[in-house]
């Protein structure tokens, strides 16, 4: 397949193979430097690398060209994701770029697009998602953070929680209540809040791994210009579901590539320690081998469906649950396999590979919670894919 691409002002025709070669070459020429250990240094290292990618038009695969993205065809996005995974590019700081960017592209004003999109990709502005609240997780429409109109401002009061990377944030994209509590999702507004504004307090939360990867965020009479609202007042809820192209589906291939590498590392470790001759260990490892292959097959099928029918098809709705279960069980098994060495942290001399399997074991508990719990996922598959009836006790959607 060939694809017409625009690079600056010149139009060129590039085949998928040429495209892959170009991407691979770029990452080879621009290999990320060694990951600094100091957290502050690491952050500037990540930002600098993404700025370099942006300036070379190597980031934002699915984003339109006019907003600084790569404007790739879907097939090329898949290739890009595979090469990205191989190049071991550090993930961008902040979260939810794949959520907030499409929302701004679809519902934002021209001025908002100009102001936010490029800097978002370039990591000049770090974005974080402020949706969840202490009383509103799965039941997000129960949220209580309020925004009251005062002249050209909203005055925001309330609390968000589990906000990933909030300590790095320059901007939060949030959902706030502008209607009554009873109006539920009909009284919610989508607001972009400056993380450095007076009245914003970010308090890091220590997580299960001992790290501080998320935080709680307090808003105390924070004044947010009305111009920073996306869409209309009280009309924020439908914006939550926006998604751009099929970036997620292409990302499934990236994940399959990643887990292939992780499993290979685990098998190598098992072999090194003479464990692959144990029939039980072999059987479990073979089971993971099966699943990591299925992950790739599922991803390929989703990609095929999108290319052939424009829709990701049934394999896509199940692939996330498949991956989250795999991720947890793989790490659980790694720790079990390592026995006593598996339970010591990186601070111990006996730690295997700096305790990465133990960290993964703890860290992967989040994979069935964050971004919607697996129970909520199962509800969605049961209702939307299998057509089973909704629980009558649940409020209307």
């Amino acid at each position: 397949m060939t694809q017409q691409i625009e690079t600056g002002t010149v139009m060129t025709i590039e085949s998928d193979d040429e495209f892959r070669a170009r991407i691979r070459q770029w990452f080879a020429d621009n290999r990320p430097a060694k990951r600094p250990r100091d957290p502050a240094e690491r952050k500037s290292w990540v930002r600098a690398y993404h700025a370099r990618m942006y300036d070379a038009r190597m980031t934002g695969p699915s984003w339109p060209l006019e907003y600084g993205g790569m404007g790739l065809s879907f097939a090329q996005q898949v290739i890009y994701q595979e090469e990205l995974a191989k190049a071991r590019v550090p993930s961008p700081l902040g979260t939810g770029l794949g959520i907030v960017a499409p929302t701004i592209i679809t519902y934002g004003t021209d001025e908002q697009k100009q102001r936010w999109l490029g800097p978002m990709l370039r990591q000049d502005l770090i974005w974080c998602q402020g949706y969840s609240e202490p009383g509103a997780g799965s039941d997000l429409p129960a949220l209580r953070t309020t925004a009251r109109r005062e002249d050209d401002f909203y005055v925001v009061n309330g609390q968000k929680v589990w906000t990933t990377h909030a300590t790095d944030a320059d901007v939060f994209f949030t959902l706030v209540r502008t209607g009554t509590q009873e109006s539920r999702q009909k009284g919610i507004t989508y607001l972009i809040i400056d993380a450095h504004a007076p009245g914003v307090t970010v308090r890091p939360l220590k997580d299960i791994t001992g790290g501080e990867h998320f935080a709680e965020v307090f808003f105390d009479d924070v004044r947010v210009p009305i111009a920073d609202r996306i869409g209309e007042e009280n009309q924020g809820w439908p914006l939550v579901r926006t998604s751009l192209g099929h970036e997620r589906a292409a990302g499934a291939m990236n994940q399959a590539t990643n887990y292939r590498r992780i499993l290979d590392e685990l098998i190598a470790l098992a072999r090194e320690r003479g464990l692959t001759t144990d029939p039980l260990t072999r059987d479990r490892l073979a089971d993971f081998e099966i699943r990591v292959r299925l992950m790739k097959y599922n991803a390929s099928r989703i990609i095929n469906d999108i290319i052939a029918h424009g829709e990701p098809g049934p394999a896509s709705s199940v692939s996330r649950l498949f991956i989250t279960m795999f991720e947890q069980e793989l790490h659980e098994f790694a720790v079990e396999m390592l026995g006593a060495d598996g339970i010591v942290t990186r601070d111990s001399e006996r730690a295997i590979q700096r305790g990465r399997w133990l960290t993964g074991f703890l860290g992967s508990r989040a994979s069935t919670i964050g971004a919607g719990t697996s129970e909520i996922q199962r509800n969605t598959i049961a209702e939307q894919v299998l057509g089973l009836p909704r629980d009558p006790a649940m409020p209307a959607r």
């Binding site: 692959t276 299925l294 097959y297 649950l321 509800n379 598959i381 299998l386 009558p392």
Partner: protein
């Protein structure tokens, strides 16, 4: 390589599904099972004459349609759904694919056109004591004389062994391991039905006392591995069709059955398990598809993919057929309900071409774990 079904495949699927729903419903399966799981002659003929199904993977020069493992997978997924009863799996997935894998042109010219025409049924027996392609489990022997070959030994579980016109068996010669063709009614061949828990698929024990045979190909050690992989991919497709049908049945019932003034499908205890089955089944469909596609492509990963599909789809079918019974409650435990037919088929399918654990062991070997 294609990475998913095309519109042509979907069309084939729709045609086969319609045909089976008219000619071979699960009610029919039940009747045929009681009658000994031989199949319906009229339906068999229509499959050959109107649909070209027996000839699906037979090369065109031998009267077939020249399709590959992917297309066979589509057909078998539908047969698995419908619990089709008849010698299709044995004749096509086992015998035809073995004949093409072994690549003996004289043998192909002799039997494939008649199979394509629906005139000849066939089966394969490799391991002595299981219906698998495990060559280490072959002790039957073949001896050459001036009159040709003769085979002695026993094959304990031959699929459709009671009725097959042609039986391909593996046997040891002085030097190597060969594949031999025997007529189902040959002198010295004694066959006896082996009742198993799956009444929709007939198995037989075949005893061979110096049965005259035709040798097919030379040393078959290498080629039978491919035949085994093709059979494994085909069975995986059939299994995942059965698993999908069991889930559909469960979902339909859960939408309809009301307890505590609401459909039971609105309870998460049911819903979530259906969702988990869906995850397992869709992944199984990917597995069966890729096993077939990689085999068609002659990809070096095909053997691993075939065992991957076998291990995964076996487990998916077993799980789905059990859950289907559970979600049907008391009705699910009755003879009248079709649910047990799927469990029966799943239980036998789980081991006919090697148990999941054996396939995982093979994968560990193949990836040099």
């Amino acid at each position: 390589m294609i990475t998913g079904w095309t519109d042509d495949h979907e069309e084939l699927r729709a045609v086969v599904r319609r045909f089976l729903s008219e000619k071979s419903s699960t009610e029919k399966a039940r009747e045929l099972a009681i009658a000994g799981a031989v199949g319906d002659q009229a339906v068999w003929r229509q499959m050959a004459e109107q649909m070209d199904l027996q000839g699906l993977v037979i090369p065109e020069e031998f009267g077939g349609a020249g399709m590959g493992a992917v297309e066979l997978g589509v057909v078998l997924e539908e047969m698995g759904r419908a619990l089709y009863v008849g010698p299709y799996f044995s004749t096509v997935a086992l015998a035809v694919q073995t004949l093409t894998a072994v690549g003996d042109r004289a043998a192909q010219a002799r039997w494939l056109p008649r199979i394509a025409a629906g005139e000849l049924t066939a089966t394969v027996a490799i391991a002595d004591d299981a219906p698998s392609f495990d060559l280490t489990a072959v002790t039957a022997t073949a001896t050459a004389s001036r009159d040709g070959w003769s085979v002695s030994g026993a094959k304990a579980f031959v699929i459709d062994g009671m009725t097959a016109d042609l039986i391909l068996v593996a046997a040891r010669t002085d030097g190597d391991l060969g594949l031999f063709a025997l007529a189902g009614d040959a002198a010295g061949l004694h066959r006896e039905a082996v009742p198993t828990v799956d009444e929709t698929r007939a198995l037989a024990r075949v005893e061979l006392d110096a049965v005259p045979a035709v040798r097919v190909g030379d040393d078959a050690t290498q080629t039978l591995a491919r035949a085994g992989d093709l059979a494994a991919a085909a069975l995986a497709a059939e299994q995942i069709g059965g698993a999908a049908a069991a889930l559909d049945m469960a979902v339909d019932y859960a939408k309809m059955r009301v307890q505590f003034e609401r459909p039971i499908g609105s309870f998460q205890a049911i819903k979530h398990r259906c969702a988990d089955l869906k995850v397992q089944i869709e992944s199984g469909r990917s597995a069966a598809f890729f096993a077939a596609a990689l085999l068609d492509d002659g990809d070096p990963e095909a053997a691993i993919a075939a065992s991957t599909a076998q291990a995964w789809c076996s487990a998916a079918y077993t799980k789905a057929s059990k859950e289907n019974i559970q979600f049907h409650g008391g009705i699910g435990y009755t003879w009248e309900c079709d649910a047990h037919l799927y469990l029966r088929r799943a239980t036998v399918s789980d081991i006919v071409l090697g148990a999941p654990r054996a396939h995982r062991a093979r994968i560990a070997e193949l990836v040099e774990m």
